[in-house]
Symmetry: C2
Subunit: 346 residues, 2 copies
């Protein structure tokens, strides 16, 4: 069904073009992760494999490889592959534990580990993935990888905690929202860029600039993702409102709606928040989409998204002649195009 969606087909061919230069890296990463599966207990291997197959887009490894880029001819370095595996395993671990907290049944069109094998197994699997990632992080000559990854993991954790405790807080401020996504999403984007540049032995100012680019791209990506859930695939809207709203997990457009909606739109939002009936949500969704446009929310979300991307690009500007920076900039351009597709601005 999704494959025939022309927007999605265009997006996929476009991301394929950006990933093409690192296809060898991605293959090496897949092979490395496959080997890692064997280091888990026999009982967990099937589940680790399941997580790796239903993997998502491997954006964090891509950021790491781009930040690590020297020339088009250089083969992927073993350090970069290992570091990419570390960030991907941390990411997978957070997803596995996240899905317990969200009581989520589906992720990337597949059953979650928590739904498929139960929350107890998901606790253990998440712990094992975390521990394996941090153990791999000690297999470098420098302590910096371990230090950066453990600090990031701590911050991602902090983001999850804030998000969990802010559930259902309809008065969540924009500052709080940005603080949460800075921790839970942008942090791993940032550390991916940091590690790529650090392992390429770039100057500290370059490493810092790349890390800042990663952080800003992470915030922008989360805004895009939230917006895509509401404006993207029509069939998803009911589900999204059903899960995010009913579980009290607020996204940027929804927070702005909470702040501004009045009359019929406010009633629709209230109804969506308190109903768990997906059929209701699909009906309410239209009202809310209309409100997003009428109240200038779609415009404001796009502006905030663009501000983050622009700040990230600006961090890279002094180094824009570097092949690595050019790769990173192609990625922010891609995300910008995607946002333009789902939420065109005048």
């Amino acid at each position: 069904m999704l494959a025939t969606d022309p927007k999605r087909t265009a997006a996929l061919s476009s991301i394929a073009a950006i990933m093409e230069p690192v296809s060898e890296h991605m293959d090496a990463l897949s092979a490395f992760l496959d080997e890692q599966v064997e280091t888990f207990e026999p009982e967990l291997r099937e589940m680790v494999r399941y997580c790796l197959v239903n993997q998502g887009k491997r954006i964090r490894p891509m950021l790491l490889f781009f930040s690590n880029w020297s020339t088009d001819e250089a083969p992927p370095s073993p350090d970069a592959i290992r570091a990419a595996a570390v960030v991907e395993l941390v990411h997978l671990a957070t997803l596995v534990h996240d899905d317990i907290l969200d009581d989520a049944a589906i992720r990337h069109n597949s059953d979650t580990v928590s739904a498929k094998w139960g929350p107890h197994v998901a606790v253990l699997l998440g712990d094992a993935l975390f521990a394996q990632a941090l153990n791999l992080a000690t297999h470098f000559d420098t302590i910096e990888v371990c230090r950066a990854v453990s600090a990031s993991t701590r911050r991602v954790c902090a983001g999850e905690i804030r998000q969990t405790f802010e559930r259902g807080n309809a008065a969540l401020s924009l500052d709080d929202y940005f603080h949460v996504i800075d921790l839970k999403t942008a942090e791993l984007f940032k550390v991916s860029c940091f590690l790529g540049a650090h392992l390429a032995n770039f100057e500290p100012t370059v490493v810092e600039a790349y890390a800042e680019f990663g952080r800003r791209l992470g915030v922008a990506y989360q805004i895009f993702d939230d917006m895509a859930d509401i404006l993207g695939d029509e069939t998803k809207i009911g589900k999204t409102l059903g899960t995010d709203l009913a579980s009290g997990k607020y996204t940027l457009p929804i927070i702005l709606l909470q702040h501004r909606a009045e009359g019929q739109a406010k009633a629709a939002l209230e109804a969506a928040t308190h109903s768990s009936d997906t059929a209701d949500h699909a009906e309410l969704a239209e009202l809310l989409q209309q409100a997003l446009r009428d109240l200038g929310i779609q415009e404001e979300v796009s502006q905030r998204f663009e501000a983050e991307l622009a700040a990230g690009d600006a961090a890279l500007a002094p180094f824009s002649n570097q092949p690595s920076a050019q790769r990173l900039l192609s990625l922010s351009k891609f995300v910008r195009t995607q946002m333009g597709r789902i939420s065109p601005t005048s």
Copy 2:
């Protein structure tokens, strides 16, 4: 109630005597951990404090301080305090996640985090404790601390996984049992001794011997703990059979009973395994205690316990003139005395 138990009073005064030389270290550790509380999110601080107060015996820090011992006059080193905090935080994290897996309501006479705040909060708190521990582990000049702690955490995790997947396997072999406790209990005892000796800059052969002592003491301690649950405090027996047996978590005496019990004892064991009624368990407990004696199980458990302690002591023998080794030997002697009290051998 417990304070008037003369056995327990004797045990407490005896452990107090052994801990006396490290009382300054323990105070410094408590102060350090109190400071750590402030690094957690405001929402978690109360829970972290709760875990620290219902802390248990701090055996792992004690092992680390003893292994790190040089002279009675030397003040506790900041590195040793920080390393002790790392192992204690990892230990606390495993307990918090353990109690989710066990659906445990009580630990050390207090509500578990999972029972008090729910399993979702327990997932987050455990993750935050793990991440904070591993982050602290990167604050040393050497990568060894991080490497040892992350490898140990991975192995403790593996032990939990094995234990969880072996639940209810009445045919669990002794090899499997020893493998599980080697991972889930002995590993953190071992790494505590390793880190103490390593941070004291002892020779590699000494560090290795101390680590082996820790591992053996850990196995012996788990055997003692399992035995104490069955033979110790009369009021606890029903509860233990209720939780361990009904949840299919096997201890050494229970495994041996499974292998050997016949007739009435076998029926009692079956009944205890399948009933969740604590009143039944208290009644069945007497039958099982009788069987433990009649079938020579109490004797065999004591022998296996002693074999582990003796192997640990033997590892230290070449260094027995070292003040650090003497401290460690005082601890194995203490555990031996405790076992003799609950399970006297002829």
